[in-house]
Symmetry: C2
Subunit: 288 residues, 2 copies
């Protein structure tokens, strides 16, 4: 039996950076420190931050003073305006890649009549991005929604930074039928593309694959979909405890992959859980 | 038994227009009249034109005087230059849609470093188009060739006017992975898109489908591929004689479709051939 972990599994640059900025902020700032939404889709890490005095809040209505950390997903210009009006201290941990997409949406909104954003309507990154589109933005979640759009002479399309590349290309293919001149911006970040690619490669060569991460994590859900398309024997787990002997029974090769907000400990725990269940016939462990 | 002919089967606007222009030219011009390449991929029509005094030639080297008709596919600027140098009379029957694509290639070549043309390398339209690209054009024929291209920050892509839309979108999908900013121009003409769509719809509701047209006709070959993907029982025939009772045995619904250079007579002959083979149980004939 062999355990293989996909390349680029776990915390991406943007999330690591936000966590680091939160810790530095806590050390440097007096008064209360908040994060606007969970900094990472992992309850243990959120609890740890809370213990350190970094509180996750869902709304900014109730805050009167203190420091607000904007997480890697970024926020819309309206949120900045509210925070500024309240004279709150802002620490902007928006992922630099997301920041670049926000600027792209703003620039496209100036010259195009329609800017299509392929992403999850409820995802914070998308809620932020749409705010830069001056009402020109249209969110679509899949190919079917792309097909229902009217024909246009010209439009632009871009993606959530953690979008599933396959889903994005399918949506673009549907738009080509409806658009004479389509500006396609592949804004899926390199880290996401590598992670998706290595996960799909892994899915095609193992007997069972575990996707480890928070249920709320959009990019982890996408990894799950990608792997499931190739390997029906794929399981989405939030923690190592969910790995039962029944799930790995008879498997010679076991794959592991985690999303951009999956901390390394979660992957290590999963490896340990599999090893402990198979002490006697455990052969090797490697990273893809 | 029912015979259904796909919508938009047969001669497209560009080919009809070129045929018309050739006939008018023959009436108006003294001296010899040539067409640079076959005006239409149909031996009977070519013979008919020859009888009328319109000769199809493959090269322009041997011509010293007379009128040269440029067919609907268009030609490169180099060919115009040679014809002008020889002081030959030019009648330009380039399809207005192809003319627009030639202008687009020329305009893109001025501002982009790379212009990808998705088409058949040996097709006269593509040989013409590439001539407008100032060396910036790259012809690709399929998704595999798109995948072998290097990554670029920016590039443009467009299609042969009679390209298979599915093949084009697949090639674009491959390019998205390799291009941050991709300008996609859907230059497949409306007539081609309608013909492909109606043929694929027909393929999904008949028992056997005959694609009628010249073997050399690129757009007819594409119709064949499109139908074959949906209905393996698809046959590419050049003339009605090839329809044998064995091919339609047991079929309740028989579909017919023809390319942009398939004359209406060819389709009528096919209908007649099927009818005559099934005199006794023939029920209905309609156009989709």
């Amino acid at each position: 039996m062999e355990i293989i972990t996909a390349k680029n599994s776990g915390l991406c640059y943007g999330v690591k950076r936000a966590l680091q900025m939160a810790k530095v902020t806590r050390r440097q700032k007096k008064g209360e420190v908040f994060t606007f939404g969970d900094l990472i889709h992992n309850p243990q890490v959120i609890n740890e931050l809370k213990k350190q005095g970094i509180q996750s809040i869902d709304g900014i209505e109730q805050i009167k003073e203190g420091t607000v950390i904007i997480r890697s997903h970024g926020v819309s210009p309206e949120i900045y305006a509210i925070l500024n009006k309240k004279k709150l201290d802002i620490v902007d941990a928006t992922c630099p890649i997301v920041k670049r997409i926000q600027k792209l949406v703003a620039a496209l909104a100036k010259k195009e009549n329609e800017v299509i954003i392929v992403g999850n309507r409820e995802h914070p990154e998308i809620k932020g991005l749409i705010g830069y589109s001056r009402g020109k933005g249209i969110i679509i979640e899949n190919e079917t929604q792309a097909k229902s759009l009217p024909s246009r002479k010209r439009r632009a399309v871009l993606a959530q930074s953690t979008q599933d590349l396959f889903l994005f290309t399918r949506a673009v293919a549907a738009l080509i039928e409806k658009t004479e001149e389509l500006q396609v911006y592949n804004t899926i970040c390199q880290s996401t593309q590598t992670r998706q690619k290595s996960t799909s490669e892994l899915a095609s060569c193992v007997d069972v694959l575990f996707i480890i991460g928070g249920r709320k994590s959009s990019n982890t859900q996408k990894l799950f979909q990608i792997s499931k398309r190739i390997l029906p024997n794929t399981h989405f787990i939030e923690s190592a405890e969910q790995i039962t002997p029944a799930l790995v029974k008879g498997a010679k090769k076991i794959g592991l992959s985690g999303g951009a907000s999956t901390p390394p400990e979660a992957i290590e725990e999963a490896v340990a859980k599999i090893k402990s269940s198979y002490k006697h016939n455990f052969l090797s462990e490697k990273r893809a």
